[in-house]
Amino acid sequence: MERDLTARLSAAARASLRWEAGLGLLVIAIIIFGAVTSPQFLTSVNFFNTGVSSGEIAIMALPMTLIIISGEIDLSVASILGMSSALLGYLWARHWPMLAIFVMVALLGIVAGLINGLLVTRVGLPSLAVTIGTLALYRGVALILLGPNTISNFPAGYTNIGINPLPGTQIPYNVAIFVVLAVIFGIVLHFTATGRSIYAMGASPEAALFAGIRVKRVKTMLYVISGLVCALAGVLWTFRLATAVQNNGLGLELDVVAIVLLGGVSIFGGKGTLAGVVLAVIAFAALQNALLLTNFNQEATGIVIGALLLVSVFAPNAAALLHGLPRWARGRPRRAAPSP
């Protein structure tokens, strides 16, 4: 059984390599497209703008990658962002010191992730349904906390992360945080035993269990980390926009999932790399930016994203598709069944 698991994993690794190569080419193609169609595309200011607008989504994509590879999903990410933004505003309006607020927001993220994790692992509920429920629940908490109020009197020292880059460079703060987190997550996923166990439980939950992997504990940890990271994203979002309001981040979850899927991570689990997701983040952000700069009809951006997503699932299957077509058209199973 262990050999099967190993064989499956190395096949997955080879497939991922093909996918990243394709993604890398896509990123290069997008960059060339952007550079050719707009003289401002390759400027450092434009890089700053692009980074600032997509930083939080990129950050949230990192733990989502691990969760999807492990065979689950987390649709509550944007609501955790909104909830932590609401708590930040709520406490700031009541004159709490910022450091204490950070601690509380981190705790909130951990608790939110813990609830998700426990419902999925201990109660055994399907993560899609659970996180649709917590998506509404956490957004509701944000609504209850802030109500109709908007808090926007944050000190300039914090809100400047939206306009000032890291001193000495043109890199926005949230991109720097993303890079650091990406390296950490990448190391954990690809170079540690925990990372290998995440692949294993996604590829085959039973085999992983029998191989001695503590599936429940690892999955719960993944959700907790996701909650914490999304809370961080919520803080960054709030400061960047200098505003805490209950609908911060509304609807972002599908974008995050789309990016992770674009990165070559299989929705079934067990396949995908962090490098692929990083490339997908770059592709997504660069494409949106290039389209904006070329006066492309913004109303059609969704079509482009959707088309890319379709390509991301069909390309790997293209070969298998052509092979399997005649059989499906006849409606017969692979093995002939005895007639009833």
Partner: protein, 358 residues
């Protein structure tokens, strides 16, 4: 073997990030190439500049109200820009949120905008971006929805006080100055609506026999607006009137009244567009409602932006702005120009506005 394969994967990523970092760190000295201020101190009594790059950035694209305000066909902002010989482009996101609008603003700045005409999705979230635009010498004019202290000029469609007061007065006339009333608003955090509601409450003090029993929030979503209106009617069986200062809300409320036993028994007024509301006015569900002329709003905003960018006005109180077919306007306090009093639509005049549609 797997390890070496994996390590090889990092190479392209590292290369890519490295090149990006190099591009980022190479201080190309700062901002975008053509920030286009070819102005070198021309005097204020010169002709208006031509060939300015002006970007019109409504709250979102695909919004019928902003299509009225901006498009060439209705005589809105882009039409004015065309008349003045400028290059006008409309851009924005599709979700009416700051996160969706800011990239469009940034892209406009990057592409060398000389002026921005913005309807702010949030009064404070856009400030960092707008302020940095102003620091680069780009004219920032807000219209319809303001971002106070982060713009050069604000074009106000109608004074908030006038809107709040006239809404209450319109309703009071219909319900004979007495009875319970409710408000169907937009999002709970919508600044415009909250300001207007504040003035409504003040005006209500003039009508001691009228009582505001509840404010519900339709979130500018037809389904939610419908449900909260129904709930309002059911919870307050003695309700006499509803004010809905949002075009989505008034339509939903009109639809609810039109298809229920409350038709004719509960009065409805608010802010709505004439073409969309025509049916309800003609069949008696709504007696009167109001708005302003969105196309004129956009038109005026365009003239203000071009005049400011040409340094003919500085936005100081008391200056005069000459706005083409709309005539002359005097700039008021806080760099604000008022379009005029709200327009009231009733059965008798609603057919004059059939061109406000497509």
């Amino acid at each position: 073997m797997r390890r070496t394969v994996r390590r090889a994967l990092w190479a392209p990523v590292v290369l890519l990030s490295a090149s990006a970092l190099v591009a980022a760190c190479s201080s190309s000295g700062g901002s975008s190439s053509a920030s286009g201020s070819s102005s070198s101190g021309s005097s204020s009594s010169g002709a208006l500049k031509k060939g300015l790059k002006v970007y019109v950035i409504p709250k979102n694209l695909g919004n019928p109200y902003f299509t009225l305000a901006d498009s060439v066909k209705t005589g809105g902002a882009l039409a004015a820009l065309g008349t003045l010989g400028e290059t006008g482009t409309e851009t924005s996101g599709t979700a009416a949120t700051p996160a969706s609008q800011i990239p469009a603003i940034q892209a406009a700045i990057t592409k060398g905008a000389n002026a921005l005409i913005v309807s702010a999705t949030d009064p404070s979230a856009l400030c960092p971006t707008l302020k940095s635009a102003m620091a680069k010498g780009i004219t920032v004019v807000t219209y319809d929805s303001d971002a106070p202290s982060c713009r050069d000029i604000f074009i106000n469609q109608a004074s908030s006080q006038a809107i709040g007061e006239s809404e209450v007065d319109l309703l009071a006339k219909e319900i004979h100055d007495s009875g319970e009333i409710g408000i169907v608003s937009a999002a709970a955090s919508a600044t415009n609506q909250n300001t207007w509601i504040g003035y409504m409450k003040q005006e209500l003090k003039k009508y001691p026999k009228m009582k505001l029993v509840s404010t519900v929030y339709g979130n500018d979503d037809p389904t939610t607006a419908t449900q909260v209106t129904q709930g309002l009617l059911q919870h307050y069986p003695n309700l006499k009137g509803i004010i809905s200062p949002t075009t989505v809300g008034i339509l939903a409320a009109a639809q609810v009244l039109d298809t229920s036993k409350y038709k004719g028994k509960v009065a409805l007024t608010g802010l709505g567009t004439p073409v969309a509301m025509k049916k309800y006015v003609e069949d008696g569900t709504v007696q009167s409602f109001e708005l302003w002329n969105p196309a004129n709003l956009g038109y005026l905003a365009a003239y203000a932006a071009v005049n400011f960018a040409s340094k003919k006005i500085t936005g100081a109180s008391g200056q005069t702005l000459s706005a083409g077919k709309l005539g002359s306007f005097t700039i008021g306090a806080d760099h604000t120009i008022l379009l005029g009093p709200p327009l009231v639509f009733t059965k008798s005049n609603i057919n004059n506005y059939n061109s406000w549609g497509f």
